[in-house]
Symmetry: C2
Subunit: 337 residues, 2 copies
Amino acid sequence: MFSAYNFFQLARRATAGAAIYLLALAPLHAQSDPLPSWNDTAPKAAIVAFVEKVTMESSPDFVPESERIAVFDNDGTLWVEHPAYTQFAFALDRVKAEAPAHPEWKDTQPFKAALEGDMKALAAAGEKGLVELIMATHAGMTSDEFQKVVSDWIATARDPRFEKPYTELVYQPMLELLTYLRANGFKTYIVSGGGIEFMRPWVEQVYGVPPEQVLGSSIKTQFEMRNGTPTLFRLPEVNFIDDKAGKPVGINAHIGRRPIAAFGNSDGDLEMLQWTTLAGETARFGMIIHHTDADREYAYDRDTEFGRLDKALDAAAINKWTVVDMKADWKQVFPDK
Amino acid sequence: MFSAYNFFQLARRATAGAAIYLLALAPLHAQSDPLPSWNDTAPKAAIVAFVEKVTMESSPDFVPESERIAVFDNDGTLWVEHPAYTQFAFALDRVKAEAPAHPEWKDTQPFKAALEGDMKALAAAGEKGLVELIMATHAGMTSDEFQKVVSDWIATARDPRFEKPYTELVYQPMLELLTYLRANGFKTYIVSGGGIEFMRPWVEQVYGVPPEQVLGSSIKTQFEMRNGTPTLFRLPEVNFIDDKAGKPVGINAHIGRRPIAAFGNSDGDLEMLQWTTLAGETARFGMIIHHTDADREYAYDRDTEFGRLDKALDAAAINKWTVVDMKADWKQVFPDK
């Protein structure tokens, strides 16, 4: 976390307009290479070429700063999504934490499976079971209370394989890319299938993306005055699923401009990439992160149920989206300790 | 429009960081008084005192720039809402424009009433009738098509009493307030009960508020690839009503931070003012525009069905929100031609 945090402190100073200050402090290498964790392969060249052509005022592809919107998927694009979405690990931990108040869960699926860590039974419970787990652990409290639960969890939970906080399992090349885009006048947004309120408590510190630039799936909330205090109470009812064809809907509702760059890693990002790159009058950029690195991270694509990358990989070839081969194109996967 | 437009061109330059440039150009008076259309009465003093205490680093009430979120209602707070919401005038004009393709409307309510300008029959059609009009005129096309329809209409339509474009019937004191807040590091949002896609095509030019800082009511949209082109198709189904208790819900969903200042003019803004001012750890500011000026604009409050200001006026007294008496507190209502 330390290095990512320091990195963003530096980045924030830079994007706050004190670029000169940064140049004075940074070693020569950082000046000449904004993407040091990327190998000098095609994806890095494509990113730099795109940024240069839309930011140079003399370029025929120049795009004014207000239109420089870049959207990023989160799970599998900015941080690890294997072997299960981090939010799923959160839900399982919350079931365990709340179990004493729900003795009936010991004998009721999918809670029984969650408590016993029985992944097979959890899988058998399907989407219906997943929604039940989410509602039981994400609703029934105020938005302020939920924010605290998430903040406490994310500060202490550890990924079982890497034995690190999940917020350290973010991709160093993508952190550099976010910073590079912001330094070039882009507004960076997260557009995730994950829960919007699950991300907001930590993404600003980790990615430098403020809460108002986070889009995600949501449950309904209800405004109530409770003893004179205004609260939003989280209801056990789905409001919006910000995935697949939901992503362009969410982008239009929330941003109201068509992004000029989109970054994803799965079929859940296909429509976002289509919406971003296949219309609009100015230059566009689409990128797919292909997980090819079982040693340093994971390798999965078409033949995997989880995090499926199939149609979007075909579409990348047709639409000339840049495909990142994690193993070949990333010099480093995670931030230094 | 010209003066408002020039005003914003100037304001944008200023907020883009070139404050020195503005100071060099502006007359002395503009330097010393950021709110020249406000009389030197209590509301102006309250605004300035609030802005100074949250922006001075030495102040115990200092608020970092990222938390300086200000939310504004639109109808009746930033522009005229009488004798009918502008969006309603838009819907009636659209019914007339679309009537040749819908011969059945001549004999079907509420369309018959809309075509004949029969306000009594329209009122009798109630909320159900209104929703029918909205769906018939706001759905059944892509979001790009709707944006063009709105842009074309707003450029040509005229308010019947003032015989001016609606975008000239914005409140000069509120334009100054928006600019003043932005110059002091606030992010200004519109949080309107009106349609989000009805506002976005013109609010950036008129108020200096970019599309991503506009919240409003919405209908559902659906992503579709049409002959290889990604489109969002507008469905005749309500998605979200951004009014009353919906305003805090929308603010939390969209911004994810609690605003520190809120500006409204009716009971539809009550919950937004409560959410903004009655919780949170830093200083807060709430303001109600009270329409008291029948000569220059309109006078209405508790006893009016339309734009009702009743509970929110009582709440203002209890919660020490600033109430603007339009007649007494505003030197000028509309921008100079």
